[in-house]
């Protein structure tokens, strides 16, 4: 009956309760959407960065990270690959030769980022096949290249044209080659779109005068948040005096820092939102308590203990808050699931404007469970703190006084 009493008390003033519950719902809904977009954009940024270039984990020679030259390469052997690929959580180990070259066609030249890839494995990491807009994808024995669309436009070249690459190879050797363009790819990130050249791994090794060497192995893992564990697992198996294993958070310190700063601003927004809602809730509790003083006086007179009255009031608040939180999550969840699976892509001029900042013109959503229960917690803790007010009032209630003053 105590629960019935609490439940009915909530609906004494339907309109007020609806407004209170509605405002909690709205706050939770808004907070979930905001956080989902924010975390979604981080996840996407990490994924983009990981999948464009670094992988979630990278194995490279000690020193390569600070001095990314072709000289800091290491030997690519079967036992190394199998050690890495057999570590739980690792899905694919993608071997790479990465360096720079001057790309030329006709009268135009441009600095290019040259990536020697194992075509099939590379596709598993970067899904680069999907980026192909013209021509066809490399196979491992090709002696041709794929280039990014921006670069192709700049050099004014198309499929079948021959690109000239000039660079410096291993230990200062000369590196020069001419390659027909087999495919053209379009990347969403402008930097990438303006300077990428793909070569088959063997051809890149030949070009840079490497024997059987790599500059890095990038890893695809099953879950981004397992990275820390996998890094530790691989590190114990390798000779870490020669090789270094890095997780995405070490590979992209700028990104991590940017995310942290942005995340703080997001949290400040949330706290502002919650404070506004908190004041509303407090107002409701204030009125709920004030208009029931006489009733509290009667209940205490006839023998109801304070703690029991406090319990009922507390339950009322928990119920209201729960309804609000559940509705907020309940409404936002299907929307977020939908947009998680169907991110919003912006097109037209707006997209160009956004892309000029070097970011993708799209909104991505996260479904991290923490995003939902963090909102629930925040609201609950706030409700808890606010409920102290009526609880204290009841703690100090004198029945005679309460009844006398209420009339």
């Amino acid at each position: 009956m105590y629960l019935t009493l609490a439940w009915r008390n909530i609906w004494r003033n339907k309109r007020r309760s609806f407004i209170t519950i509605g405002s909690i719902t709205f706050a939770v809904f808004l907070a979930c959407i905001m956080r989902s977009m924010q975390l979604g954009s981080y996840e996407r940024m990490i994924e983009n960065a990981a999948r464009f270039y670094t992988g979630y984990i990278q194995v490279h020679k000690n020193g390569f990270w600070d001095d990314k030259t072709i000289d800091n390469s290491f030997e690519y052997n079967k036992s190394l690959i199998s050690k890495i690929e057999n570590t739980p959580g690792v899905e694919v180990a993608v071997p790479r030769v990465e360096s720079f070259a001057l790309a030329a066609f006709g009268t135009k030249t441009k600095g290019a980022f040259v990536l020697g890839i194992a075509p099939e494995k590379e596709d598993q990491l970067t899904r680069v096949k999907d980026k192909l807009v013209e021509g066809s994808y490399l196979s491992k024995d090709d002696k041709s290249v794929m280039i990014a669309q921006g670069l192709a436009e700049y050099l004014k070249m198309g499929i079948g044209d021959t690109i000239i690459l000039i660079s410096q190879g291993y230990h200062g050797a000369n590196a020069a080659g001419i390659y027909p363009v087999k495919g053209i790819m379009k990347f969403p990130i402008p930097d990438q779109n303006n300077q990428t050249v793909y070569l088959p791994l063997k051809e890149a090794q030949w070009f840079y005068n490497l024997e059987n060497q790599l500059t890095s192995i990038a890893l695809v893992v099953d879950k981004a948040n397992h990275v820390e564990i996998i890094v530790a697992d691989i590190s114990v198996q390798l000779d870490t005096t020669a090789l270094e294993v890095m997780g995405w958070y070490d590979l992209m310190p700028d990104l991590v820092q940017g995310i942290e700063i942005d995340n703080i601003s997001g949290k400040v927004m949330l706290w502002i939102l919650y404070s506004v809602i908190g004041f509303g809730m407090f107002g409701t509790y204030l009125m709920m308590t004030a208009e029931r003083m006489y009733e509290f006086g009667v209940m205490m007179s006839v023998g109801m203990k304070r703690i029991l009255m406090q319990f009922i009031i507390f339950i009322e608040m928990v119920m209201m808050t729960s309804i609000g939180v559940i509705m907020g999550v309940g409404i936002s969840l299907p929307i977020l699931i939908y947009y998680y699976n169907n991110p919003i892509f912006i097109s037209g001029e707006a997209a160009t404007a956004i892309e000029n900042f070097g970011v993708e013109a799209a909104y991505f959503f996260s479904l991290q469970p923490s995003l939902f229960y963090n909102q629930a917690w925040a609201i609950f803790i706030m409700a808890l703190i606010l409920s102290l007010y009526p609880l204290i009032i009841i703690q100090n209630l004198k029945p005679v006084k309460a009844m006398r003053e209420a009339i």
Partner: protein
Amino acid sequence: MSVIKVENITKVYTETAVPVHALNGVSFEIQEGEFTAIVGPSGCGKTTLLNILGGLDHPTSGRVEISNIDITEMKDSDLINFRLNNIGFVFQAYNLIPVLTTLENVEFIMLLQKVDKKKRRKRSMDLLEQMGIAEKANQRPSELSGGQQQRVAVARALASKPNFILADEPTANLDSVSTSNLLDIMAVMNREEKETFIFSTHDQRVIDKARRVITLEDGRVKSDEIRE
């Protein structure tokens, strides 16, 4: 046997700018089974006296014994429990919890006493029948007339099987028909159930129904007559 023994109690309200001497040495005893009216004009100290008898307020000096237990020194938290098991209350108005039905309101007090569900259902229904409002069992207080509400309040007061029932001007908000109805029912419960009633009033028709009348004036007992 005396249910209540009041010895020379005084009450001074000091929270006001000028201290108010509401009671100035009141003494009497109430025996089991009495049907007593505390009467006097507004402001003579009836409510103050009943609050002290009911353990809702402490006297400034003097002693109150209920069933030979001194309640004057009792802690507030102990008094809540004492009231629950020993005293029934009927106030002037708004006695009932608005969100509970009539039946639930009567049951509520037994719920606090931890009486089991079946027993309290039955006793509540019986009491409502005795009060002649059984057909309102599932209605909310707001759907009842003032007189009916007061009868539910009496039923609730009886439900806990208290030593006595205190009713502070229970008819103040009622018309004459409801007033005499309520008094008749209280008289019946007094006669048949041997329940002790103490009620305050300044209504002559109510005074006429009492078997003992204690008259207050300026916080003192002016007269105390037993009519039988």
